[in-house]
Subunit: 578 residues, 2 copies
């Protein structure tokens, strides 16, 4: 029991020197990668740079204690930072104390929600986000994030809540274009794209082994940060108008409880829920993929608790919402991390950076951070998925396209809500016409097949409809219509059999429909029978009055129904002309 | 084509004197019933009495032209009037010009929505309201409506937006209790309950035929109205503080377009949508039930257009939202109405009443109208349904109970939205674990059955999982988990077969899961096969890259899969110990 809620007790028992070495190496690499990312994502969320660092210390320790993935790297990530900016931006202006307070409270509320969902074992809630919706949402978020960083590259003061406003604002402010900033931003972006695409092959060609080349290629952002910071410092570019990170307080964050104002909590409630679910889905997908590669398993419900603990930890140490990120987790995995201790060591690395390196960050240009964000998020954009989904399934394509469009036009919260609602409605619509077929007997056997596709025996007094799906509210009315149409088109029918071999569920709405069918068939002088009803479905039907009122019988097999009901007059039984 | 959109063209062709007589008789009876009801429901909606009359003239003519039910009686109904009060009450005070303007605009917006849904053939949208939700909503609405009328019976000035506020307010104002009003209200209520329960048997016992007795019993409200109006007039009770309907303008309504203020339309949008859907569901159920009794059919999509036209007609003639009502439709049917012309004749009856009878309504006590409402709506309250649903299905019970509670506590709009969302989520939850079973071969046959329930042959190198439901986003992840668990528990397995005889759909999310399963099994050295994939599902899979990457094969039958994959070494094939 204790081990279930504290997975650390499992892996700590077998911890040894070999594991330690591997974890330390992975932690070093992830730390180098996380320093610029944590600063950049704080900027993206509209928060001071140090908040990014604070969100990269305690949350990692909390996840190491409560998380079940061996290799997940928790901390600030792009999509959740964007959602934080959207949520908090409704309540306060970026840069104000209220903005920071709200971001910290958001992490706390989201953390509590995640823990609660974990304790209630609601991990399956993540299943309600269909893949096209998640994929569309992440693509659109990537586009918005990249667009929101363009102003930092150009050195202009644009702002906006959606793509249109953002782009219009950039055009309006284009006269403010600041050349030194642009040169830094464009060079950093170009350098990072080059590193991402060409550095690894180059290093391998020059004799380096693949793993080392991979790790060096991930250090590109650090190099860009160091170089542009140095240039800015040497040439006093900050005095020339290049915007820099500026003073970052040195030292570890203090502990404090978040603001418990009930108005604030109410205003943040929906946003916190969306951030929790989106963050969880993103994190658990990465964790599952990596775990599977090493034949490990993760526990989605305990993951909720782990991520919840991380967010609470982030909040009480002055940080903003965090989750498990894709790129850092993959690096952590590739660098050889074996246990969550790697995360704890990364936390130590970031803590040391917070203590020692912050003075060096003064001259770091915001344009460089923007460049690292742009290069990172553009890899999230997968417009090819639209094409693949279009080819495979129109309803899924509609859900994906609507999610992308609404996210771009109306923002992240409207986008995800619309996407989820639409994918559910489209699914209900797809199942609102249950698959069904009139069946007849394959001559000489006990098998019954579709009269339209097989040469089978049918009896004009007996009509048998096989229903191939569970019956529930969205398709119950269609079943009624189908039966009434059949009965009014076959006036000589005396017995109607509903064959239910694939019906796993009959909900209360479908039960009402069956009762209505029974009543109306009775009024028309037709007996209503069931056949091949599954055990659990039958048990449930016995708890209602339906079987007492049923005008016909329930047959165990369709063959039994056929033998009992068929007119033993060969003139009436004939082959269908399939 | 023209006939589809104008059903009047069908029935008018065969109209004759016999039909005319029957329709005229039915119209007379419905008119007598509708006069007090239209006044009462206008009162319930917080509108002047004449608005109820206006909503009972032109809408009936519009439905006679565009509707497909032969016997549906359109006009003001209780639940829609309550929803109108809730929607408009948020925007303006009852009794003001703004309130009336908003109610008229609401009818117009709702009418446009219904017509649009009809043209787009979205009648199936009504399927998304599960029966327990509708039933719970109508029960709760009945309770709220009855409670809201108690103040008129007591003669106090209570008000409130939900049950708690309403009851508290009544208690607070209890000192205002007006005895003459109470006496009128209680006698009218008692009289109406008595009429409903005892008058018909009494008349039959005294020799009257059943149909005539039934019709006379329906005239109870008219008798109550006439008697209390007369008493009030004779004893000048209105001067003694009994609240009366007062001046009702004489004459037909004028035509006018509604207010097209975009703010107003935005504020009413959600309410109009809810009223449209709830009104449509209520109306179409009645219409279907009555049509089936005479072997007629209605067209739900054309019904949307008919009801939409009625609401637009109501709006441009100064009325409020209308729909097909249960009790009047049943009376219309029982009284022998044969065509929608009965509705048009009812409209003429109400028009005559509006021209001639309005001066008589001055002394009609509001308490009498409240009594007619209370007696009418209490028949909607069906708390027994809670018990029946509890016995049959817990998830349906939860949806019903939540709808009732939220409607009572937070109001009609919150109640219906919560009920619909909850019933959908509970359904997704119920299907999130698709029914599946490991299967083996029934010895000597080509049949395959659940290893846990039958003595079947199994091969330790080949694992076959039969999946009994369609695969989609809500259950895709569960399938992945199930497969990974099976593979990690059966280390010697070399071939895994997913048997899909009942899979009617694989959506894009489930396709991703199949791709992930294929990849992970490949990584573990296990081949992934499919068997018995249905034709349409196979066609769709061919449009993706899944089949190209599949590590195993697709077998037409499970027997073929078994024969191909089984280890032909008897030591490995053995019977399961079911």
């Amino acid at each position: 029991m204790l081990e279930r809620y504290l997975p650390i007790l499992q892996w700590l028992r077998t911890y040894n020197r070999g594991t330690l070495t591997n974890d330390l190496v992975a932690a070093l690499i992830v730390t180098i990668m996380l320093i610029p990312q944590s600063l950049a994502y704080a900027l993206l969320a509209g928060l001071p740079a140090e908040v990014g660092l604070y969100a990269s210390i305690l949350p990692l320790v909390a996840y190491a204690i409560f998380g079940t993935s061996r290799t997940l790297a928790v901390g600030p990530v792009a999509v959740v930072s964007l959602m934080t900016a959207a949520a908090v931006g409704n309540l306060a202006l970026s840069g104000t104390a209220e903005y920071l307070t709200a971001a910290i409270a958001l992490a706390f509320i989201s953390g509590l929600m995640l823990i609660l969902m974990g304790v209630l074992r609601l991990g399956m809630l993540a299943n309600f986000l269909s893949h096209p919706v998640i994929s569309g949402f992440i693509t659109a978020s990537g586009i918005i994030i990249a667009a929101s960083q363009v102003k930092h590259i150009l050195g202009v003061n644009a702002s906006g809540h959606n793509m249109l406003e953002l782009l219009t604002s950039i055009v309006e402010h284009s006269s403010e274009l600041h050349w030194p900033t642009l040169i830094i931003g464009v060079s950093a972006t170009a350098f990072l794209f080059w590193v991402r695409k060409n550095l690894k092959p180059l290093l391998i060609k020059s004799g380096m082994n693949s793993r080392m080349a991979d790790i060096l290629a991930k250090a590109g952002p650090v190099a860009a940060v160091a170089a542009t910071t140095l240039v800015t410092f040497l040439f006093h570019l900050d005095q020339g108008g290049v915007k820099v990170v500026g003073d970052v307080p040195t030292g570890l964050p203090g502990f404090a409880l978040p603001n418990f104002d009930s108005d604030l909590w109410q205003q943040l409630f929906i946003s916190a829920l969306l951030i929790s679910v989106v963050g969880f889905v993103e994190s658990v997908s990465v964790a599952q993929t990596l775990a599977a590669k090493r034949r490990q398993r993760i526990d989605p419900n305990q993951e909720l608790i782990g991520l919840g603990a991380s967010n609470v930890a982030s909040s009480i140490s002055g940080g903003f919402p965090v989750t498990g990120g894709f790129s850092r987790s993959v690096v952590n995995f590739d660098a050889g991390a074996e246990t969550p201790a790697a995360g704890a060591f990364t936390a130590v690395g970031i803590a040391l950076a917070t203590l020692l390196l912050t003075p060096l960050l003064f001259f770091l240009p915001k344009a460089t951070l923007a460049a690292t964000i742009i290069v990172a998020v553009l890899s999230l954009v997968d417009l090819g998925a639209l094409k693949r989904t279009w080819a495979y399934s129109r309803p899924d394509f509609i859900a994906m396209a609507a999610t992308i469009l609404l996210t771009l036009i109306s923002g992240v919260e409207a986008g995800i809500i619309a996407g989820v609602s639409l994918s559910i409605l489209l699914y209900l619509h797809r199942t609102s016409k249950p698959h069904s077929a009139l069946v007849g007997r394959v001559p000489g056997t006990e098998h019954f097949r579709n009269v339209e596709r097989f040469d089978v025996e049918i009896d004009h007094r007996v009509l048998t409809l096989r229903i191939d799906e569970s019956l529930y509210f969205a398709n119950a009315r269609y079943l009624e219509d189908r039966v009434y149409d059949l009965i009014s088109a076959n006036k000589e029918v005396k017995d109607f059999v509903l064959m239910c071999p694939a019906v796993n569920l009959i909900d209360a709405s479908a039960l009402e429909s069956l009762e209505a069918i029974n009543q109306r068939l009775k009024d028309s002088g037709v007996s209503f029978h069931l056949s091949e009803v599954k055990g659990p479905v039958m048990d449930r039907l016995k708890r209602s009055h339906f079987l007492d009122e049923l005008s016909g019988k329930v047959f165990l097999s369709q063959y039994e129904a056929w033998e009992t009901l068929r007119t033993h007059d060969d003139a009436l039984t004939q082959k269908s002309t399939a």
